[in-house]
Structures are given as C-alpha cells and as structure tokens.
Amino acid sequence: MPLLELQNIHTYYGGIHALKGLSIQVEAGEVVTLIGSNGAGKSTTLKTICGQTRARQGKVLFDGQDITAMKTHDIALAGIAHVPEGRRIFPKLTVRENLEMGAFSVTDKSVIDEGIERAFRFFPRLKERINQKGGTMSGGEQQMLAIARGLMMKPKILMLDEPSMGLAPILVEQIFEIVTELNREGMTILLVEQNANQALSVASRGYVIQTGEIILQDDARELLSNPQVREAYLA
C-alpha cells in the first residue's frame, strides 16, 4: 500500500476546474516529483492533500487513513509536512521561534532540541542567524528555514513546493543535494518543481501535470529521456 495516494481528485476554485481527476501514488522511502508549467495545478495538488483547498470529488489516503475531509492541522499531525510555495516563513518570529513552531506537535523538549541540532547540521547558516527575524533573511536562507521548519515535526512525508524558485544556481544545487540526503536517511519526499531537469535527476519517479491532469508518469530516468518531456520542460 502506498504511503500517500490521491484517487481521482477533482478540485475547483469557484468555477475554475483546477484538478481534473488526478491520481498519484507515493511509496514510503521514495522521492516522487510532480512537474508542470505555471498554472498546471501543482500547488493545488499539494494544497488539496493538506486540506487547504478541498477536493469536491475523489479521495486522499495517507498511511492507511482517509484524510480527505480532515482539518489541515490534523492532516499535519498525521505526519504530512508541507513546505509551501513562497516559503511562508513567519516574518516576525525569529529563526528559533519558526523552528519551534514547526515542532508545535512535539511535546518532548529534548526531541525539539535534537531537531534544531539536526536542522543546523543540514543548514549551518541557520545557526548563525538563530535570533534573527525570519522576515529579514535572504530568499535562500528563508528556503532553508522553511525546509528545516517542515522537518521539525518529524513527518512521514515531506512535500516541497518549488523549493528552487528564485534561488541562485549554487543554492539550487544545495537544495537538491539536501533532498537526496534526506531521502538517504529514509525520508519520503513529494517534490513539486518547474525545474524538471534537476527534479527528475533526484527523483525515482515523476508525474507530469498539465491543466489539472496527469499526462505522463514514469521512472524519472525514462521521463528525462522522453522526447515530449524534453521538448516541453527541459528546453
């Protein structure tokens, strides 16, 4: 049984039919990427999973339970960390406070401290900025903080929405290295990207989404060499 499964999801924004019968599966331990161009429905897919928008039809199953109608905070509690598009750092909280909020569900203080140490290992830059307000950090630092914050709850799956967006090439490289490293430690990852080339090179499988529908799904390596994908997303 997959860890996360979307079955025939239809999501609307008012009259706009954003997801048209979408089905996706993520197995535990995988890195799966969802690629597609602007407005294809990538963010809507993640928002539907975590209950920020509601599917009008279809089911979201996670870790053996139906989470389709659950409240967002309960879905997160079930083990889904969503690092949203645009980072959404709490601008007036410090780096430490942002991390502590990521661990809101964790009651054991020592687990929180371990989590913060782990975040510093992945992102040493955050350590120097521990007392800085989130909103005053650079885009790259904010992205690191957003990922670190997502990891604080010890999720079963990490969903990243365009983590490379707006970052310098070196940082993009670093973010994808961290994705690989997290996965090596056993983290399941659903990675949404427009940067198809790099996303497919760290993922094991990929889905291509276009105007709310999955038009292709395959092993990442196959997709990388697929002429249709090459033309549309790797040009």
Partner: protein
C-alpha cells in the same frame, strides 16, 4: 497651578493603566482576526459587575469584614476574570466564528449587537435582583499614602500594581511560551500556522479568553477605584482604550500599553488644566474630546500608530 501636577500625574497613570489593560484585549483580537471586538468594553463592564456582586455577597454574608482585603480582592479578581474569560470565548463561538470569512462589516455589526445585549442583560438582571442598576462597590482599600507632593490612594496603587503584573505576565506568555508564540504565528499567517499542526480555532479561543479576562480584571479595578458602576461604563472606556490601541499601533501589544498610559495622562492633564488655561472657556467636561481628537489625528497622520508598521502585509 503646578503644585497639583504630581496629583494629576498619579490620577492620569491610574486611569492610563486601566486603559492599557483594556486596550490589550482590542489589540490582541485585532492582531489575529483584523476585527474590532466592539463588545470588549462591555466585557470590562461585566467584570466590574461580577466583581462588585462578589463583594456585595461577601458583605451580605457578613464575611467581608473579617476578611483580609487582599484575599477578598484576589478572589474577586479571579472570579471576574474566569467569568468574563468564559463569556468572551462563548461570544466568539456564537457571534463571531460563524461570520468568519464574511465581509468585514458583518462581524463588526454582530459585535455591536453583542455590546447592546450585554448592557441590557446586566441592566435587566440587576434591576430584577436589586431593583436598581447603579451599584456601589464595597471599598476594600480606603487608606492612602501621603507623599507630601501628592496623595496616592491605596486603591490606585492596587490598580497600578495589578495592571503592571497583568501586562508583564501577558508579555512573558506571548514571547516565551509555545502557545504564546503560536498566537503570534497565527496573527502573521493563519494558513501556514495550520500546516505546523496549530489548531487556529483553539488559538483564537485562547486569544478571546485572555483578552476578555484582562478586560474583566480591569472592571474590578475600576469598581474599586471609582466606587460606582453602571451598565454603560464599558462604552466610553472601551472607546478610549480602543483609541489607545490605535495610538500605539493596533495589533501591537507594547503599543497598546504605551498608548493607554498616554491617553490616561493626557485626559488627566487636560481635565485639570484646560479650565485654568482657557479662563474657564473649556472646562474638565471637555476632557473626553482630547482622547477622540487624538484618535482622529492618529488616523489622519499616522494610521499605523506609534509602534505599528507602515505597511501591514497580509497574504
């Protein structure tokens, strides 16, 4: 004329600390919901009545006389805070939560309705219970401290001490505890906060619980300081506390505290000096004009207030 200045400042500070604590309730709720809880002043009023009824009950039972006034005071304070806190949470649940997501004006109108409801409920129940709705609160602290240049009544010292303690506790809570930080997180970005497993509804309930109980506590302080209360004391005091919150920068806790003290001092100063300075053309009866002129000036020239940010980002 200057010889009365110390006294005027003491009176102004006493008043200002009360505005400050009530202003916190307005600003906390606004910070999270961008909504002005118009009934907040009336929760203050309910606190004053609950506290006074507790003391009157002690008095009727004959236990008040033998009681340590501090013990009586703290029992009164706790009961008033518990009841107004619960009332605030209940009001949010039935009158505001169902309207979340409606146009801004709708919950505001609901709040005005709640405000009238509370006034009339208190008036009605006191009229039935006591045949009158003006109450005189038993006074627990009647002594005063002679400083030479000013006389500080004991009750004013209690007002200031309690107000300061409440503000310190709130500041520590909001800055140092997990739920306090969650409150700030929700104020900044609700939907992201819920991704962190934070139950936004619970945080909003907590905000109303704290804000309302602070208002209720101030009601007790007011009744002790001024002696007489009626069901309409929440209106003007609420408006002034709201002015204080706007002056400080609505949504900003420190701003509410500083704004409250400034409004209190200005009111006291203008009440004392406006008459003499204008040869009696404007007397103390115009002191309220000051608070509201400040409100208008702030809204015109510095709408973000003393501590607010120029541009409020809201995603």
């Amino acid at each position: 004329m200057l010889s009365m200045l110390p006294q005027v400042l003491v009176d102004g500070l006493t008043l200002g600390f009360m505005y400050a604590v009530v202003a916190l309730g307005y600003t906390m709720v606004y910070g999270i919901l961008e909504f002005i809880n118009f009934a907040h002043g009336d929760l203050f009023m309910v606190g004053a009545f609950v506290g006074t009824e507790v003391l009157l009950t002690f008095e009727a039972l004959g236990t008040l006389e033998g009681m340590n006034p501090f013990v009586a005071f703290f029992i009164t304070l706790i009961v008033a805070m518990a009841i107004t806190g619960a009332l605030g949470v209940g009001i949010e649940r039935v009158a505001y939560r169902p309207l979340r997501g409606a146009p801004r004006l709708v919950p505001l109108i609901s709040a005005i309705g709640v405000s009238f409801l509370l006034q009339d409920l208190v008036r009605f129940s006191e009229a039935i219970y006591r045949n009158e709705f003006y109450l005189n609160s038993p006074q627990l602290f009647t002594g005063s401290l002679e400083l030479g240049f000013a006389t500080v009544p004991q009750k004013a010292i209690m007002v200031m001490v309690i107000a300061i303690v409440l503000m310190i506790v709130l500041t520590l809570f909001v800055n140092k505890t997990k739920w306090g930080i969650a409150m700030r997180a929700v104020a900044q970005d609700q939907s992201t906060a819920s991704l962190m497993t934070i139950n936004v509804d619970k945080v909003i309930m907590l905000t109303f619980l704290i804000g309302s109980s602070l208002g209720g506590a101030t009601g007790v302080l007011f009744a002790q300081n001024y002696g007489t209360i009626d069901p309409y004391i929440g209106f003007i005091l609420g408006l002034k506390a709201f002015t204080a919150a706007v002056l400080g920068g609505i949504g900003n806790l420190r701003g509410a505290m500083v704004g409250g003290v400034i409004i209190g001092l200005l009111e006291s100063l203008s009440g004392a000096y406006m008459g003499p300075l204008t040869n009696g053309a404007f007397g103390a009866e115009y002191k309220d004009v000051f608070a509201f002129s400040i409100l208008i000036l702030v809204l015109l020239f510095k709408p973000e207030g003393l501590f607010g940010e120029a541009v409020k980002e809201k995603v």
